[in-house]
Symmetry: C2
Subunit: 231 residues, 2 copies
DNA sequence: GAACTAATACTCGATTTCGAGTAATCGAGA
DNA sequence: TCTCGATTACTCGAAATCGAGTATTAGTTC
């Protein structure tokens, strides 16, 4: 899958909007908002206009008219081209059919979890859970409302997916907190010991592994598996 | 939470690495790789060097020595500063404690799901499921291996989180496919009818809502709720 | 009808991001 | 000892990204 000429997901939304009818950029932005698509695709004015320009440059859309309304800046109305329709279909197929690696900030944070003490980690994760619970409630309320309006679910599956993801995140985080609290996370007791040793001896965390018996009271068998330069 | 001076997650990883000991940029990159942190934080050489420069400019790290090794480019070794340690701790706390809105590509795709026929959608989602299954198997194998090496789980929680997310995605996708297939997704039958009408009458999708009785055989009560300009 | 707020419709330029390219050296095998 | 692929260690510039700022008009309230 060669790289897209215009890769910003907002460009995808622009193509999607223009495949309904010609519009000017600001109109696209308001339509995305009224339809709530800006909840699933990040909308930023700066990006919108540069993305529209890039789409035009690549022949996916074309200016069909410019209207001037009093002294306001003139609006350029764009229409999708045949190439643009192809690009949109191809892009949608890719988005749905081929999952692409995405990086979440929690993943980044967890990668450095041992940099905090277990207690501090639990405190922060609990805080996260609270925020996520609120998020879930907001989503559920919105869904209940749309359902009661008989608004077809097909128009808000993306929000249901978001809900599923947040639920998974909360479930994981709760389990993690419990595991840290109970030390059942293998290595968590070790994590505690390490932190206490750092405080007690006033050493750097990296020094812990130079004398495991002193600081952990035992050999660490897995330590031998790690090449020295990665310790 | 004011914006970070250096916002790229890779900068966070750089601070995390340098809080262990001074290193030169390339050394950071290899350490991230051997520890598998590059699976959770996107590593790109171009970004690495510009991020290091930005961190230095902002006083979070400082060059401590430059070594030259034969005719190779000279390596600048950087150390973290006190401000850098604070920044790292603050950043980690934010990553763990305050979930930030993230946009996934599947969400973007689902937002335009009705642009494809139900059959095509199912076909693509099935394809996605296949890829996700393979991904899950890879992760599970890797985890089993680390567990059998007694490598403490605390060092790979981020990968467990990733697994939880992929599992949630697959569960959701499977449910969605089933719902589309069985038409139990309210609005899915309507989606089918709409698509058939577009083919039968050769009209634009947007025209469907101009005469719902003709194309869907009934009034669509929720349609009245939508402001005309958002239709 | 003056004042003010909200909505409309962008613009701009400072960063950021990216990934392909480069160039030296090392090590293993022929 | 020659070669060649892998590893080391970056560089560069084109393109993307962002969000704050601007200017006009429409609507609302006193």
């Amino acid at each position: 899958m060669a790289k897209r000429k215009v890769a910003n997901p907002l460009a995808f939304a622009v193509l999607g909007s223009l495949s309904e009818r010609p519009m000017h950029p600001y109109e696209i932005s308001t339509m995305l908002k009224t339809r709530g698509k800006d909840m699933s695709i990040k909308l930023n004015y700066g990006s919108l206009y540069s993305v529209v320009a890039a789409l035009e440059k690549n022949g996916f859309i074309e200016a069909v008219e410019t209207v001037r309304d009093g002294n306001r800046p003139e609006k350029t109305v764009y229409a999708i081209t045949a190439a643009g329709r192809d690009e949109f279909a191809d892009w949608l197929a890719e988005l749905l059919g081929s999952p692409e690696r995405e990086y979440s900030q929690l993943e980044a944070g967890l990668a450095y979890l041992p940099a905090f003490s277990p207690d501090r980690a639990v405190e922060l994760l609990d805080q996260r859970i609270e925020t996520l619970v609120a998020e879930i409630e907001k989503l559920e309320t919105a869904h209940a409302e749309m359902a009661s309006n008989k608004f077809p679910r097909i128009f808000w599956v993306e929000s249901e997916f978001r809900l599923a993801l947040v639920r998974a995140e909360i479930t994981f985080t709760r389990q993690l907190v419990r595991a840290i609290r109970t030390d059942e996370l293998e290595g968590s007791a070790f994590w505690r010991k390490g932190f206490e040793a750092v405080e007690k001896y006033g050493i750097q965390p990296a020094d812990l592994f130079k004398d495991p018996v002193k600081y952990f009271g035992e050999e660490l068998p897995w330590l031998q598996e790690i090449p020295p330069e990665a310790r």
